[in-house]
């Protein structure tokens, strides 16, 4: 289990995602954080839920293990809420686009909802 945490900033998220730095990404989450993913395979009534910083860390390790490019374009912050968009491209040209909404507590992510779409 990771113990190091870092307060989230838009620039920090952008840097970590674009550098595919799973460890840095995991450090932005609170221990009991929940990430909810909504996409074509995980509809809004049954989103895929990743609970806890350990599982979220594995999730980011998996994503960062892919040789793809990520670009974080828009980051918005409003008090304890934050949002960003992420455009990704696989080596074969397939693209993914995500929008993530974050709820923060003491500067750490406690709740994240990701909506994503991709070329298939």
């Amino acid at each position: 289990m990771l113990t190091k945490t870092n307060k989230v900033t838009g620039a920090g998220i952008k840097r970590a995602i674009e550098a595919r730095d799973g460890r840095a990404l995991a450090s932005f989450y609170a221990d009991n954080a929940v990430t909810r993913i909504v996409d074509r395979n995980n509809p809004p009534s049954k989103p895929r839920e990743i609970k806890g910083r350990g599982a979220i860390s594995t999730f980011w390790d998996d994503i960062c293990g892919r040789t793809m490019t990520h670009k974080v374009d828009v980051t918005l912050a409003d008090g304890d809420q934050m949002a960003f968009t992420q455009a990704c491209t696989y080596p074969d040209g397939a693209k993914v686009f995500c929008i993530a909404l974050l709820k923060l507590e003491d500067g750490l992510i406690v709740d994240q909802t990701v909506v994503q779409a991709w070329d298939e």
């Binding site: 996409d39 395979n41 995980n42 049954k46 895929r48 594995t58 999730f59 998996d62 994503i63 293990g65 892919r66 040789t67 793809m68 696989y90 080596p91 074969d92 040209g93 397939a94 693209k95 993914v96 994503q116 991709w118 070329d119 298939e120």
Partner: protein, 580 residues
């Protein structure tokens, strides 16, 4: 670039019976579809769905099935076709057996279901093995080269941006997955082997049988003849066998099929097994018609970290037969959790009961003791009414029933039991779709039932109007209780309370007594007499030589004149008059 997706209507059903009914050879209507997509050219006219049914009535069975975009990876000098489906964080590479054609396989509902299940939790990368379908061919003169196949998998993973992936190897693909895991341990997260084997000669067919199979294959390739060997249970399904023939033809020419068969016959990866470090799940159908289950057991013994699961069935291709069982076990192995398959929602009557207080303080036993007795009784009472009750917390019961009347009767019994124990409960009943496998139960319909339960007066049983309307004929009666607002619903929900007593006449008897049969015409009295005898409109029509329509009009007039809500009430009136 955004690539198009070919949308097609496709028959699909989750039951074997439905499947055989819905199955139609798409060749006859949709025409032969050549592989046309590649990563550089968008598919034209991708939006209009094409029906592949011969009978338009079957369209209602269908749902849209997508075919993923086919891309090509370059492995040495060969192009290897693949498709990526879904976008889970885990990469799962599926290496199939033979025959295979990545675009034709989508036409089979079972294949579509397996892909859907696996791609719900993973990014599923479907590989077309060299020598099959959309990938480059094998040189019939060159000796089989298992290393080249391993490189093909790596090339696809590189092209798709996979770092480490789990591999699902089916049939001959299992040996390739094992060899890959031995060669690239750092890129292998886990292996799932389905109907796999390490040595063909040992597990599948000896030289003599192989020769016979090759000879038969040479003559019959393309007719669907291999189906009898790979999935004998489906061989009698003519439409499916014809489609299988099409799959054979589009996966290889007879020469290419022979070359594939020779390559498979040369498979022997026993030497590589000690080098496989990744955790392995071995799935083998216990009556696999092509590769004996013993082959799976041998693999499990030879591998360091292997778990063997034998599933019932005799289909060899992993995408035939009970694909849900395969997906369930694979998902649990790869993600650590088993998801509930989608579409498992059923229509049910839902009862939420809440213990809200005590009603008999004079009882000697303490509340906790009485609660224990009640807890013990609840499951039995629910079961007696054909229901399934589960405690959700210390004071709340969620129960599922196949009908609203059963739920209501159970609620009455629960109230009686609670009363006798000096406990007060409030209960709400609603009908709606719910996933019964979910623990704890959840869903919008249950929330409505809970909301209703929360709004009841002590000891009352409230139902949504919708639930109460389903019990007509049960003898249960209700009183309107206005409506309540439920979050998430646009309109307030009309609710009714279960009447305390059961009787067939309307509750307000006063009017009925006042009614005078004299207001009826002679014909109407005649009709009413037959209604009172319990005859239906068609019967009365026959008896009186009238049309059914006329009888209906008479009955409507009778009820209007007597100010009666139902024919049963009118019949009751006649019965009482006769008794007086």
């Amino acid at each position: 670039m955004l690539l198009g997706v070919v949308a097609r209507l496709h028959p699909s059903s989750d039951t074997a019976a439905g499947r055989s009914k819905a199955w139609t050879d798409p060749q006859t209507t949709a025409g032969r579809r050549e592989p046309s997509a590649n990563a550089l050219t968008p598919i034209p006219s991708a939006t209009s769905p094409i029906s592949c049914y011969t009978s338009p009535s079957l369209v209602s069975w269908g749902r849209q099935v997508r075919i993923a975009v086919t891309r090509y990876a370059l492995s040495a000098d060969a192009r290897i076709a693949y498709q990526a489906v879904g976008h889970g964080s885990l990469d799962l590479v599926l290496v199939p057996g033979f025959p295979s054609n990545l675009e034709i396989l989508w036409e089979d509902p079972d294949y579509g279901r397996l892909v859907r299940r696996l791609s719900a939790f993973a990014r599923l990368i479907l590989v077309e093995p060299r020598g099959s379908g959309l990938s480059d061919g094998l040189d019939p003169r060159a000796p089989p080269d298992p290393r080249a196949r391993v490189d093909d998998i790596r090339a696809v993973m590189d092209a798709a941006g996979c770092g480490r992936a789990a591999l699902l190897g089916a049939s001959d693909g299992a040996a390739q997955a094992l060899l890959f895991a031995a060669t690239y341990p750092e890129r292998t997260r886990a292996l799932v082997l389905c109907g796999g084997y390490a040595s063909f000669a040992d597990a599948v067919a000896d030289a003599r049988r192989l020769r016979a199979q090759a000879e038969a294959g040479e003559v019959a390739w393309g007719t669907g003849a291999t189906l009898a060997r790979l999935a004998p249970g489906r061989a009698d399904d003519r439409a499916f066998a014809e489609w299988w023939g099409r799959l054979e033809r589009l996966s290889a020419s007879p020469t290419a099929a022979l070359t594939q068969m020779r390559a498979a016959a040369a498979i022997d990866v026993r030497g590589a097994l000690p080098a496989v470090a990744a955790p392995v799940l071995i799935l083998h159908r216990s009556d696999d018609a092509h590769v004996r289950v013993e082959a799976g057991r041998q693999l499990a013994r030879a591998l360091k970290e292997a778990r063997l699961v034998e599933l019932p069935g005799r289909e060899h291709p992993v995408w035939l037969g009970d694909v849900d069982a395969v997906a369930d076990v694979a998902e649990e192995f790869l993600t650590g959790e088993r998801s509930v398959a989608r579409g498992d929602r059923v229509l049910a009557a839902l009862l939420v009961a809440r213990v809200v207080g005590t009603s008999g303080s004079q009882l000697a036993a303490g509340r906790e003791e009485r609660m224990d007795l009640f807890r013990e009784a609840v499951a039995k009472i629910a079961a007696r009414h054909g229901g399934d009750a589960r405690w959700a917390g210390a004071e709340r019961i969620d129960a599922l029933f196949s009908g609203a009347a059963r739920a209501a009767s159970c609620a009455v019994a629960l109230r009686e039991t609670a009363n006798s124990l000096g406990l007060a409960i409030s209960q709400g009943i609603h009908v709606g779709e719910i996933d019964p496998a979910r623990e704890p139960l959840a869903g919008e319909a249950l929330e409505v039932a809970e909301k209703i339960a929360a709004s009841t007066r002590q000891a009352e049983i409230l139902l949504t109007k919708l639930a109460s309307e389903l019990v007509s004929g049960s003898g249960l009666q209700f009183r309107d209780r206005g409506s309540i607002a439920v979050e998430g619903l646009r309109e307030p929900l009309a609710v009714v309370a279960l009447a305390a007593e059961r009787h067939l006449e309307p509750i307000n008897r006063g009017k009925a007594h006042a009614a005078d049969l004299g207001v009826l015409s002679a014909r109407e009295r005649e009709v009413l007499g037959l209604v009172a005898e319990g005859l239906s409109n068609p019967h009365i029509a026959v008896q009186l030589g009238l049309s059914e329509h006329t009888v209906k009009r008479h009955v409507a007039n009778i009820l209007l004149k007597l100010d009666m809500p139902t024919r049963a009430a009118a019949a009751g009136l006649v019965a009482r008059r006769a008794a007086q």
